[in-house]
């Protein structure tokens, strides 16, 4: 019999098994586990009667449905034009320094993953970033170090 992860079961029960529920289900599983593993994807496919390759194709389309293991907190630094003009690269460097990781990596304690993303809709207050769902704006290298500090508390 198929082994079914409880996170998948819960998500499918909550949102439904129809095709139109696929995105909410994937979002729910990703939130519960911070990323979607191969077995999550094939479990969702089995539960919803879809093909695994297809669910993989859908999940990989969306930027925030991570398919790689992530830290508990994901930092998304905006790299698009307005933030870029206002020094987004310095913010990235400051974060790399503070977290002792490179872009795309996860800290060894599994607390943070550092990533970039496209415009997050705070262009008038750039540079901006998201940590999980929370936006942070008007960033400076000093300010991001403080923010990271707060999460570390």
């Amino acid at each position: 019999m198929l082994r079914q992860d409880s996170a998948v079961k819960i998500a499918v029960e909550k949102h439904g098994k129809e095709r139109k529920h696929l995105l909410p289900v994937l979002q729910e599983v990703k939130r519960a586990k911070n990323y979607l593993s191969r077995s999550d994807i094939s479990d969702v496919a089995a539960e919803m009667g879809l093909s695994s390759a297809h669910v993989y194709g859908v999940a990989s389309f969306y930027h925030f449905l991570d398919l790689e293991e992530r830290g508990r907190n994901i930092i998304w630094v905006c790299k698009t034009i307005s933030c870029y003009m206002k020094g987004a690269n310095d913010i990235l460097l400051a974060l790399e320094e503070a977290l002792k990781i490179r872009l795309g990596e996860t800290t060894s304690d599994g607390k943070f993953t550092l990533l970039q993303t496209n415009c997050i809709g705070w262009c008038h207050k750039g540079p901006a970033m998201l940590i999980n769902d929370q936006p942070y704006t008007d960033l400076t290298p000093e300010k991001v170090v403080e923010i990271i500090h707060e999460y570390n508390q």
């Binding site: 095709r19 969306y62 870029y84 809709g121 705070w122 262009c123």
Partner: protein, 393 residues
């Protein structure tokens, strides 16, 4: 040519009106009357494409179907645009009011707000508003319910057919058109997709009347609109301004005194150099002499310290990632444009290659399947043509 000064407006965020009353009044009018008002107001979609809203609702209203849907497009992803977030944060009841109007007019009983992932922080607040709204619906005896549908990070999902695909549990790849959503939308049913701001204006038109709305702005581009101002400006933020302003007035008001170019409409819009400021208006094509540029509201100012090569490169990076990838001109074209300007910059390709790239961007405009690929040429051609030397040296 007649110069219009920039006129501030306060409709969208004004607190001096009760949404519930506007709605209650409107629901007493016959449906045809509301459609007539919208058509007369000249309101065009504020999501970028500028389709007349009254006509869109009319088409959906005329479809025979047991199910219809209203979708509020809150996938706001155009670089430099942040007005929809602000609207949803501050006056979401007006948005919902607009959806209710649309429900009344078209017969849709279910509505969705397709909210981009980046705005998840708005969820708790929106859920509270939805409770209030649903109570109103019961009181006003309108059989209409709205729920949130979350995006997961894909700019192209702002395109209405890929938004619908995404809601149906698929990859957000734009569909072939026709058919259009007003006849074959969500789950194959007639669907109205409107921008957040458009929906608010439908309510405002109910409040102030079509004539007053039409009196604002210019011929072909009536009313006002929200502008998201960013870049090299001391006054970054959101402003509601009458349609039809010239870039000269805009820069006078918002520039830092050293503006060399304004990007109108975000990465998929046009870059206007200083020498064109006075002859360029903000509005839909055809209304005024000179150049009329439509915009979803993004206004980005670049001063003389900026490298337009870097700006263009940033845009092309954006498109290369955000293209859905299904059609050849856009998927491969975006990569070629980016690699092409890099090769010219490094001296690996002659500056004449810029002409090949311009032709390629024209082909993308003509042949790409959706607005994303079609509009890459807007910024590409306007930047390359106006700042050619910055591309080469």
């Amino acid at each position: 040519m007649a110069r219009r000064k920039l006129k501030r407006v306060d409709l969208i965020f004004s607190k001096d009106c009760s949404c519930r009353d506007i709605l209650a009044d409107a629901l007493k009018k016959p449906r045809e009357e509301i459609i007539r008002m919208l058509i007369e107001s000249g309101l065009k979609g504020r999501g970028g494409a500028g389709f007349p809203t009254g006509a869109k609702w009319k088409m959906a209203a005329e479809e025979e179907s047991n199910r219809k849907y209203v979708i509020c497009n809150a996938d706001e992803g155009e670089p430099g645009t942040f007005k929809d977030r602000e609207i949803l944060d501050r006056v979401s009841l007006k948005v919902l009011g607009g959806m209710a109007l649309c429900s009344y007019v078209t017969g849709a009983r279910e509505g969705f707000i397709y909210l981009r992932h980046e705005y998840r922080f708005l969820i708790p607040k929106l859920e509270k508003t939805l409770d209030v709204f649903h109570k109103w619906m019961d009181e006003l005896d309108l059989d209409f319910r709205v729920s949130l549908f979350m995006g997961s990070g894909a700019y192209v999902c702002g395109e209405e057919t890929s938004l619908i695909e995404s809601m149906e549990g698929k990859r957000g790849e734009p569909r072939n058109k026709p058919p259009y959503p007003t006849s074959d939308g969500y789950l194959g049913k007639p669907t109205v997709v409107n921008n957040v701001e458009t929906l608010v204006y439908t309510m405002m038109i109910m409040r102030i009347g079509a004539e007053e709305f039409r009196a604002m702005g210019v011929e072909g581009s009536s009313g006002s609109k929200l502008f998201s101002v960013s870049g090299d400006t001391p006054k970054a933020g959101i402003y509601e301004i009458e349609m039809g302003m010239t870039l000269e007035d805009f820069v006078k008001e918002f520039g830092d005194g050293d503006a060399k170019a304004v990007q109108v409409g975000g990465a998929s819009g046009f870059c206007v150099p200083r020498k064109r400021f006075s002859e360029t208006h903000i509005g839909y094509q055809g209304g005024l002499k000179g150049f009329s540029l439509p915009t979803g509201g993004s206004m980005m100012i670049f001063n003389s310290s900026r490298s337009m090569y870097n700006v263009l490169h940033n845009y092309l990076d954006f498109f290369e990632e955000e293209s859905c990838g299904q059609c050849t001109p856009c998927r491969v074209g975006c990569q070629q444009l980016r690699k092409g300007i890099e090769a010219i910059k490094r001296g690996e390709k002659s500056h004449k290659y810029l002409n090949d790239l311009l032709r390629l961007s024209e082909t993308m405009k003509l042949t790409a399947k959706c607005g994303l690929g079609q509009s890459v040429a807007n910024s590409f051609a306007s930047i390359v043509e106006n700042f050619r030397e910055e591309m080469i040296y």
